[in-house]
């Protein structure tokens, strides 16, 4: 087993399991439609709240898709083979995350223009929204993978993972909605984007190692 063969197998697994990525997308759309129905479909409410609605929906959708990341490998024993393969586990986790990110985020970004019309976001703000998604979502995936690694041995780990991991999503959501809010009122938003990038880079270095420790403890 080499890093390349592992990456190919992950890409193949995602294509064989397209339904998981589609589920995350549908879940995202579902959460988005809650707000107009639940609160009010008027432009006065939806336009200022659009950034927050989309980001909360993205956070929940990513949590749902990352939660089951290791479960299948844990059940059929291939996670054990990864631990024993002699390859550096954090890098394997990172590769798996890259595949997961592309599978969930790319369709989401393609969908964003349509969604932004549903929430009355005008075009310049849409561009800022996509920018924050590209910069901020890796942090969500990376922190989520720690939760996935911690709850891999539990049969019903989804709620527990939400409880543990969601508080760590708050800085990302705060700064991304802050950037969108600043753009909406015409203020410069590159400060918020810089902090968002800093958070993503920090989790990039920290999370794979923590997830690897948790996986090695869970596999027994």
């Amino acid at each position: 087993m080499t890093y390349l063969s592992f990456f190919n197998s992950e890409v193949l697994a995602i294509f064989r399991r397209k339904q998981d990525a589609v589920n995350a997308l549908v879940f995202f759309l579902l959460v988005i439609t809650l707000f107009p129905l639940g609160v009010s479909p008027s432009k006065e409410f939806l336009q200022p709240a659009a950034g927050g609605i989309i980001w909360c929906a993205v956070a929940l959708a990513i949590l749902m898709s990352v939660e089951g990341m290791f479960k299948e490998d844990y059940n059929d024993g291939s996670l054990e083979q990864l631990v024993v393969s002699g390859l550096y586990l954090p890098v394997l986790i990172l590769l798996k995350l890259v595949v997961q990110w592309c599978a969930v985020m790319l369709p989401l970004l393609i969908l964003m223009p349509i969604l932004s019309q549903m929430l009355f976001i005008n075009w310049e703000i849409l561009w800022v929204l996509i920018l924050t998604l590209i910069i901020g979502s890796p942090a969500l995936f990376l922190i989520g993978t720690i939760g996935a690694a911690l709850t891999v041995s539990l049969r019903r780990g989804a709620v527990l993972m939400l409880l543990i991991i969601l508080p760590f999503y708050l800085p990302v959501i705060i700064f991304s909605t802050g950037a969108i809010g600043a753009a909406q009122v015409g203020q410069p938003y590159n400060g918020q984007l810089a902090i968002l990038a800093a958070i993503s880079l920090m989790t990039l270095t920290l999370s794979p190692i923590m997830a690897a420790v948790s996986i090695k403890a869970s596999v027994n």
Partner: protein, 205 residues
């Protein structure tokens, strides 16, 4: 090449779910040897294999491999290691050939076909793994033995899913592997043919 591959374990203390499985257990296994871990059910045979493989950490004890101390970081050993545990490690979403291609990327398709034929799965290479029975999935994992170039094999009950012919084929492969310098540590309930000159290690609890 007969490099220095010996694995020495000294005063290992294993505890599993509040039960002490063995105290200061020591053994030395050299290249070219077949070691069989003896002990009744639940004595910790699989646990010992998992500790050697690096899946579990012993509470106390030192493990040396080729002179290096690998008690905390087994990746030095894992680079030469092939571990077959209770789980077959076969992804049900892949086909049989894809599973083997994933584990042994440097082998081409007909080497894989040949290995499958040896374990009695000829012609299954394109069928998805979830259609196969658990026994057949274990035999896919065993097919890796014919495709791998790893020196050290840790086999947990390798003979369970095999018929008589399969057992002798696997014993022949183990014999061939240890002849050219490999090392095999296994646990099994069946008696092994004495052609293998098995070195028995008793788990004292």
């Amino acid at each position: 090449m007969h490099s220095n591959l010996d694995l020495s374990i000294s005063n290992l203390f294993i505890e599993r779910s509040e039960r002490v499985l063995c105290e200061n257990f020591s053994c030395l296994i050299k290249a070219g040897e077949v070691a069989r871990i003896m002990g009744e059910n639940g004595a910790g045979k699989s646990t010992l294999l998992k500790i050697i493989a690096g899946i579990l950490q012993p509470l106390e004890g030192k493990i040396l491999f080729a002179g290096e101390d690998i008690s905390f970081h087994r990746d030095m050993l894992q680079k030469h290691l092939l571990y077959l545990g209770h789980h077959a490690g076969i992804k049900s979403v892949f086909s049989v050939a894809e599973n083997l291609k994933w584990y042994c990327p440097n082998k081409d398709i007909d080497a894989i076909e040949e290995a499958l034929a040896i374990v009695g799965l000829a012609g299954y290479s394109d069928s998805p793994a979830h259609q196969l029975s658990a026994g057949q999935q274990r035999r896919i994992a065993l097919a890796r033995l014919w495709l791998t170039d790893k020196k050290i094999w840790l086999l947990d009950e390798p003979f369970t899913a095999l018929d008589v012919k399969g057992v002798s084929v696997l014993e022949g492969k183990i014999k061939q592997h240890t002849n050219n310098g490999g090392m095999v540590i296994l646990t099994t309930h069946q008696s092994l043919s004495d052609a293998l000159c098995v070195k028995e290690i008793q788990l004292v609890s």
